[in-house]
Structures are given as C-alpha cells and as structure tokens.
Amino acid sequence: MSFESQLKETFMKHADDVRPDTQSWPVIEKRVVRRHRAGMFATAASVAALIAVTAIVTPRLVARKPSGFSKHGKPQPTATEPTPVQRGPIAVHVGADQGFQISIPTGWRAGWWEGVYEYEPAGLPSLAKGGDTFAVSVKLVAGPYDRSGISGAEDPTEMTTINDHLALASEYVGSDHTHDAVYQIQWASCLPPSIECSSNFQNNTLVVIVRASTEALWTKYWPDAQNAVRSIDAYDGTHPAHLEPPTNTFGNSDSLTALMTRFLDARVERVNAEAFMSPQAQAAFANTKNCLDLYRSRMTHKPWTSYQSVNRIDLGSGRAKFLVMMMMDRNNGGYVESITVGPAQVAGTMVSAAIASADYSCNLSSGD
C-alpha cells in the first residue's frame, strides 16, 4: 500500500470518530439568536454612548472658555470652565441692528446705546455709570474678526467657534483686578428677511466683551455670561423677543431705554411694534402727512434695516425723550425721530413705560 493510500485510509477510518449530533442545529439556532440580539444591543448602546459623548463634548468644543493670559504678572482668575447647566430661565434678546440674537438670564437688564448692546444682572450698574459691576456687551465693528487688537485684547489666544461662527477668544486680568473675556466673532449675517447686504457687511466682527470689576463678580456671573456667549447666533427670525407688550413693572430710567430698544428692534424686525405704543403714538405714526412710518420709509418704501441712537433727554416723572435715526441702509443716512417714552395707556392698560408720543423730521440726515 502506498504512503498516500495509507494516509487516505487513515482519514476514512477516523471519519467515524465523530458522530453528527442531530441536536446541534437547535443549539446553533439559539446561539445565532443570542448573538444577534447581543450585537443589536451592543450597537444600540454604542450609538447611545456616541450620542451622549457628542452631546457632552460638542458644546465644550464649540464654546470653550478662553485659555486666558495674565498681564502685568497678575494671577489667572480662579473661575474655571462652568458646568454646562441651565442656570435659570433665559430670554432671547435680538440685537436687531447687528443681526444677532443672544439668550440672557431673565432678570438681566438689556440696554443699548450708541450701537453697543449691554446686559447686566439686575441690581448692578451699567458700565457707563461706573462702580462694581458685571456686564456682557456686544458691538458690531467693521473689519475681519482676526484683526489683532480689535477690542483691546492685545493677545488673542484661542481659536474657537460659536455656533459655527469662527471666533478668537482672549482673556485679560487687569492690574486693578478687573476681568475681561473678549470674543471676536466673524460676523457675516444679515437681517432677515430680504435685507440687502453690502460686501462690507459680510466681513465684520461681532465683539463680545464679558467684564467684571471684581473677582467675586466674575466668579458669580461668569457661568451665566458664558452661556449667553454660547447662545450668540445670527438672528433668524424664529425668536421674536418683542411680541409681548411691556408690563407695568418698569420702575427706573433704564427701563425706558430697554423699552425703546425693544420698540426699535420690533420695527426693524417688522414684528408687533404696535404693542409698545400708546394710541397717541399710533396716531402719529398713522398720519400720512408726516414721515413717520413704523416699518419702512414712507418716502422710499424701503424697510428699516437698522437704527442709531442720537441722544436721550430725561424729562422727569419717569419720562425720557430719545432722538433716534431710522436707517434703510447702513452706509447711508437715515430719518431722525423724536420719541418720548414714559407712562402711557397701552391696549387699555396704564403702563409705566411705553411709546407715549413721536415727532418726526423728513430731512435725511447723515448716518455718521
């Protein structure tokens, strides 16, 4: 017998060493079912874990705290990355002039003057008034966002994104213990709807400055401020912040500015500005013999796209007169209006702050 025949015979002989088990198939079937379910559960768990990790990691990547730097040998602030938790109700404020929206804690005051939006916790003074305070200010400036020294932050330190807007973040601790976090955000948004954007408008910078006068204020309000900064995005019209008429809770002169801002925002947004007006003011705007118009120029029929404050005169008794310029085009002039804010009837209810009356000028004024 040849070697190969011997080999073949050995295999044939030992083929019977194993006997097929008729019960093997049910066992295999059960194992297949078990393995399939385990695989599906593992896949589902992996997907859930991935979603959870993404939900945790993405906000941290999108809006990281500026890495910070210290000038003049001052120590770094002790404030650390805040826990991304909702710290209370927020209100969406629309910076209509600059095409952004920001979510700020309810109770914070929203102010606007000379093109700067300013938000402070209740009870703290504005930056202009001075004293220990904490504020988030937002301003649109011309030029690319990565221009150095744009806001006094001499050492932009960190590239980041805020709701997909490229941004530079930097931090500054002054020798007097003031604390600033500065965000220079690439801002190429235009006000909706159907607003024409010039090429210059596409290449501007939204500068956001978070400022605390003291370390204690920084520590207390920085988490709220960072949430607010994280929320900044182009205004998309889905959060009209001015649908509700003001209540009669305004008690100081700042509430007049706030109401004025809301009124002007609503006019630019073309949403429910009437809700802020007394019957007298509504009649003034409805008079076809003057140049006042709520949402667009009666002369050119172009909608208002922005506004600027010119002056404010406190009249006493909770009243103030604002000189504002309504604009159709940022690069050209606008129409000056004189609007008085104070106690007035709105929809049959007496409120402490409303658009009480309005005067007008049909002369086109210079924009700057």
């Binding site: 011997q6 073949k8 083929a15 297949v32």
Partner: protein, 179 residues
Amino acid sequence: MKMGELVVGGPRLALFQPSKERLDQLGAWFHAEYPSLLRFAYFVSGSSHAAEDLVQDAFVRLYRSSGRVDDASFKAYARKTILNLARSGFLRRTREQRSMMKERDAVSQLADGTARDEMWRAILSLPARQRAVVALRYYEDMKEADIAVVLGISVGSVKKHTDRALEALRARLGEERRS
C-alpha cells in the same frame, strides 16, 4: 396583520430578531453539510468535542456573513472559517474549557485502539493548516486548485503545504518505527 389584532412590541422588537430568511438558509446548509464539516473540523482539531464547537461557532459566524455567502461559496467559506477558528485562540479556549473531556477522549481512544494508530498520531502532530490541506486532499479528494480556493491561498502554497505535510508524516512515522 389583521384589523384589531393586538400587537405587543412587534415592529419595534423586530430589529432584535434575526432574519428568518437567513436562519432558514443557514439551516438548509447545516443539514446538507454538517457531517462533512464536522469531520473536517475533527481532522483539523483532532478532538471530537472541539470539532462540534468549531462547527457551531462557524455557523454562528456564517449567519452574520450569509448576506455575502451563497450556495456555491458556502462549502469553501465554512471550511475556511473552521480552519481560521482552529488556528486562532478558539482551540486554546476549547482546550481549557474541555480539559476533562479531552481526558475522556483519550481514554476512549485508547479503548478502541485508535491511540495506537501511528499514522493518525502523525497526522495530529501536523500544524493545523497542513492538516487541513492533507484532509482536503486525501479525505475529500479535492484538487489543489479547489483546496486553494477553500483555504484562500495560492495553488503553489497548497503544493508547498502538502509536500511539507507528507515529509513531516514520513519523518514522524520513521521515528516511531525506529523507536
């Protein structure tokens, strides 16, 4: 589904149920090829219990791959899977789990005289791939080209493994006979 029929979690849990179509196909392959695959696994592993585990494990893996495997490629795919499992850590795990059964195997082999089979002992001493090659060549009468397809290697490699296996067997048998 009839109107008014009560369905409890059926559609949502369907994802966690294996495909009936694929299970049926797997069952058909099992009933047609199980004996020959079991023998092949036995020749490769040298253990009847390990062979049973190898075949079961191969079918579980086949279920996951059955979308890519058809009737024509099933035989080759199953054998390749068995060989790969045998060459991987599968046998180590099986040996650990079934050490007692192995002892029982040895006792039964001694009882029926197979342990005294010189050629069989020599075959079991071969590396798994060489054992697979000679099993396919001399038990299943496959041509070298078919063996190459089953094992996923070149015909030249099949020749090389066959030559080395035969050389090793001759050497082993010569040693045993001398001793």
